[in-house]
Each structure stands twice: as structure tokens, then as C-alpha cells.
Amino acid sequence: EDQVTQSPEALRLQEGESSSLNCSYTVSGLRGLFWYRQDPGKGPEFLFTLYSAGEEKEKERLKATLTKKESFLHITAPKPEDSATYLCAVQARGAAGNKLTFGGGTRVLVKP
């Protein structure tokens, strides 16, 4: 069974204080690893897809990296508007590839 574990559950940062979120996964053949951002009362919003170990993607202050067992979302010099819950998900190859398996998320609060 595919599993995704995110840590920490919650993260409080001062504006400008860089940090990293962890996503550990086990999957029967990785098709893709996804990062989403979710604001309160809204549905998740797509950020990145990573396909193979060593791959990196960047968007503004966010950078996602991938190894064979985990992914990191690095937040560089965060701003209050980066406050959100960040969700990691994996998609497996083959017959199970129709769905994403999500982790529990990391709630990030950036204080000015």
C-alpha cells in the first residue's frame, strides 16, 4: 500500500527565516510526486510535479527536490503570504495510477 508521511505537522517561521518541509514516501513504482498548497477554505492548488530522483523544480521562493525515498520543499526567505498547508502526494505506476495518495500536510505560518 502506498504511504506518504509529512513532517513537521506544523511550522512557525519568522518572515525571512528559511526552512524545509519533508515528505517521505513508499510506493510500488513512482510515476510522480506532487506538491500542492492549500489555503483555509479552499481546495489544493498545484505547485510542482517531480518524476525522478535528483530532479528539482523552483517557483518563486519554493524549491522542491526528490530522492528515492523522500522529497523536500524548501522555502527561502518566506513572506506572510506563504502561510498555508503544503500537501505532498504520490502517484503510482500501473493499475493504481489513477489516484494520488496524499500525506497529512504541513501547516506553515509565517509571521511578519
Binding site: V4, G43, N98
Partner: protein, 114 residues
């Protein structure tokens, strides 16, 4: 419309009643998903529709849950004889491609079963 639309945004019901939740995907998107999100938890897969193929119902938690989709348009998720543990946000997502790499989510329906 510009995005995935779900209705109602909030639903309060009594234990034992049936509820129907609606999802309007983005026009032209072939894939449609339903997920459930309990308070403070991650998303739990329920069901997946892809074009005219048979739906993947492997995530439905019990036979009280069912969903339909007509072609590539509106989908409805029905929960019969609701229980308190059904209280959650029900999220719908659609995707434009067969690979379903990028999902576009609606804002969800907050279901409260009293």
C-alpha cells in the same frame, strides 16, 4: 466556468438522511476525482472517472457511498443514511489529460452530520 465548481459549499444534515453533492468540472477535462478531507488530515481518495471508462471505485468507504458522472460533465456524489463519521470536506478535482498529472480542485463541500 473558470474553475471547478462544487455545490453546496456547506451542508448540514441529520444522521440517517441522504445527501447529494455536485461537481462541475472544468470544460474539456476528461478526468474527475472525488476526495474526502477530514479535519486536520490529508486527502482520502474516493472515486475516479476517466472519459467513458469504468470508474475506479476502490476508495469508496462503504456501499452507502456512490457517484455518477454523465459523459465528461457534471458528477454527483451521493451518501445514503449519513453517519457522523461522514462529516468532512468533500473535494472534487478535474484534469485535462489522460496522465492526470495536474489536478484542479474545487473549494469543496463542508458536510456536517448531526
Amino acid at each position: 466556468g473558470a474553475g471547478v465548481s462544487q455545490s453546496p459549499s456547506n451542508k448540514v444534515t441529520e444522521k440517517g438522511k441522504d445527501v447529494e453533492l455536485r461537481c462541475d468540472p472544468i470544460s474539456g477535462h476528461t478526468a474527475l476525482y472525488w476526495y474526502r478531507q477530514r479535519l486536520g488530515q490529508g486527502l482520502e481518495f474516493l472515486i475516479y472517472f476517466q472519459g467513458n471508462s469504468a470508474p475506479d471505485k476502490s476508495g469508496l468507504p462503504s456501499d452507502r457511498f456512490s457517484a455518477e458522472r454523465t459523459g465528461e460533465s457534471v458528477s454527483t456524489l451521493t451518501i445514503q443514511r449519513t453517519q457522523q463519521e461522514d462529516s468532512a470536506v468533500y473535494l472534487c478535482a478535474s484534469s485535462p489529460t489522460v496522465k492526470n498529472e495536474k489536478l484542479f480542485f474545487g473549494s469543496g463541500t463542508q458536510l456536517s452530520v448531526l
